[in-house]
Symmetry: C2
Subunit: 345 residues, 2 copies
DNA sequence: CTGAAAGCGCTTACAG
DNA sequence: CTGAAAGCGCTTACAG
């Protein structure tokens, strides 16, 4: 009878009453002012969430059109991001959500004033934010959390703290599986050409690689482990460096398909045959793997599904529902194509 | 001294004073109530216009963040759209504009109620709309024109009427150049594997192809001209059909790089060598052309630049400025790579 | 940090 | 039809 959630739309005063504070205090919390005690803020946020409070602006934008979710991603010109975005937009069309992209880019993330940015998102009725392999700071996450804007990160860089939602794949297992595949073929001189050390996913792949080596009694060599960018140019640079070693690797595990593309390019220009002279495993399983010659053995991650999951997670959080798990991890799968073979003896 | 337009933002009371009525009356006019005398309504409307009154909602959406432009595009999973979108987002980051994508897709265009859609765009403060190779109806264009929402179309399908802004490339000249390149190599049995007949750009390429043949006294053969989709599967289907002819072509001009990918696929499975047994020219000049084996000779269009131009055009129109030209046409350029050679005698 | 009080801009209900 | 009065929901300024 005395149910908290009644059918009338919750208004600022309702929230204030439930939280046991005054209306101005609720107003301050909503607007991200910092002159509110943490304990009070938490109580108010709980009340906001419980009642599902919406500002007049949000009510308007909600009744006036589809929900809007912001997406921050670094360029669409990689097969990786293309797949993710395809999944996100796919889900957006089904859920009738608008995806907003373009203003804040990963490059602008640091320069941007998070407080202002988050505030503007609230004011324009944005439902949440998806970050793709972006750097984050605790301050950034705080800015959004304080305003109850859900943030979901896909393949986080530099995770600054616990307590945010993320989507990823079984990178450790994938790295291990790729490396074990090469070991089973008979390789022992296996290099890892990975992405930035700031990328959790790349580090996890590296550790999977190390675990596989260790599990087979192969000692790892520092010269065989290079970290760079997830792109083709780094694949080129890294491969040149590896092949210039006194004892070059007979197989390369690339941290992304784009890196693998660079490996193939160097192999071609040097007249090295893949897989006869050099075995190669990529990561991501993008459509690219079917278009290279030879077709690329790669650890596939379900990128489209990951994109869809990220958007769905944002929408669930925006509705005040809890996620089953703060970190959603999708299974990778080694797809063996034509770029791996036993080493020449 | 007694200027009507002062610097303070016009508020309901200001309008009321100017119109010589009370605030409630202005409120009624704004909200479309009918209990207002016609004469009064007209006076109030004049005052609203003169002061440039905006509701708090409109003010908020305008001042609260970057301008928003809607983008309707069919999937990002083609090299063509990826390049366009890269250009659009590139420009968006510079101009501080948000690009909204996801709700209305080309597939939804017909089903959607344009009037409602356009109205919602006005209400949520959208500055304009970019359509990419989308079908349009006159009714759709009217809905937006009536509300002063600029629409810019990239590579229009089914252009229903004059009087809209568009961005394209010199498709006729590009088609002619591609075909002449093949003729100069000695080919006379040249096929055109194009996109849908509804696509202006594909039809223009076809006419360039026909003009080149005609200019060199080569008669065109209906069996050598196929229209389909701008994608790889159609490249596969079309090539099979062409190669099954009693007198198959020795060269194929594909209406897009994606179609050309399908041609390469069929050639590979049939053991036909490109360019020795079959010459191939693509269209678009996407990064794909550097990744195929052999690298693909293609008519490049500056897709990124076209995307940037489309967004800039929308923003100019939104500011009330006129465009230099309703149709912006960018130059194509034939890039000769490794997929074309003289025919075997 | 908090909230009573005042204020803002718009809308509603109703007397004339 | 019109507008004084009351009201709504939120925010601001400031005293404690």
């Amino acid at each position: 009878m005395n149910q908290v959630s009644s059918k009338v739309k919750p208004v600022l005063a309702t929230v204030a009453a439930l939280a046991g504070v005054s209306a101005p205090t609720v107003s301050k919390v909503i607007n991200g002012r910092d002159d509110v005690a943490d304990a009070t803020r938490i109580r108010v946020q709980a009340a906001l969430a419980e009642l599902g409070y919406e500002s007049p602006m949000q009510r308007r934008t909600r009744s006036t059109g589809p929900a809007m979710v912001d997406l921050v991603i670094d360029g669409l010109n990689t097969p990786y991001s293309m797949e993710l975005v395809t999944g996100i937009l796919d889900c957006a069309a089904i859920e009738d959500v608008d995806v907003v992209v373009g203003n804040v880019t990963p490059a602008k993330l640091h320069r941007a004033n998070h407080e202002e940015w988050a505030q503007r998102m609230v004011e324009s009725g944005r439902k949440g934010l998806i970050l793709v392999t972006s750097e984050m700071t605790a301050a950034l996450l705080d800015s959004f959390e304080h305003r109850n804007i859900p943030v979901v990160v896909i393949d986080p860089l530099n995770p600054p703290r616990q307590g945010y939602s993320s989507v990823g794949a079984t990178n450790w297992a994938g790295g291990k599986e790729a490396t074990e595949h090469l070991i089973e073929l008979g390789h022992t001189r296996i290099a890892y050409l990975g992405g930035p050390n700031a990328a959790e996913c790349s580090v996890a792949r590296l550790h999977g690689y190390l675990a596989a080596l260790m599990g087979h009694g192969i000692s790892s060599r520092p010269a065989y482990i290079l970290a760079g960018e997830f792109n083709q140019p780094f694949g080129v640079v890294g491969t040149r460096q590896l092949l210039a070693l006194e004892e070059p690797p007979t197989a390369i595990f690339a941290g992304s398909d784009s890196i693998a593309l660079g490996v193939l390019e160097v192999a071609r220009t040097l007249g090295l045959r893949v897989p006869e002279d050099l075995s190669l495993v990529g990561f991501d399983g993008t459509p690219l793997t079917e278009q290279t010659l030879p077709r690329l053995t790669s650890v596939a991650q379900p990128l489209q599904e990951m994109g869809r999951a990220a958007l769905r997670a944002v929408l669930r959080l925006a509705k005040g529902e809890a996620l089953d798990s703060a970190h959603m991890e999708f299974a990778t799968e080694l797809i063996i194509r034509d770029s791996t073979a036993p080493p020449r003896v």
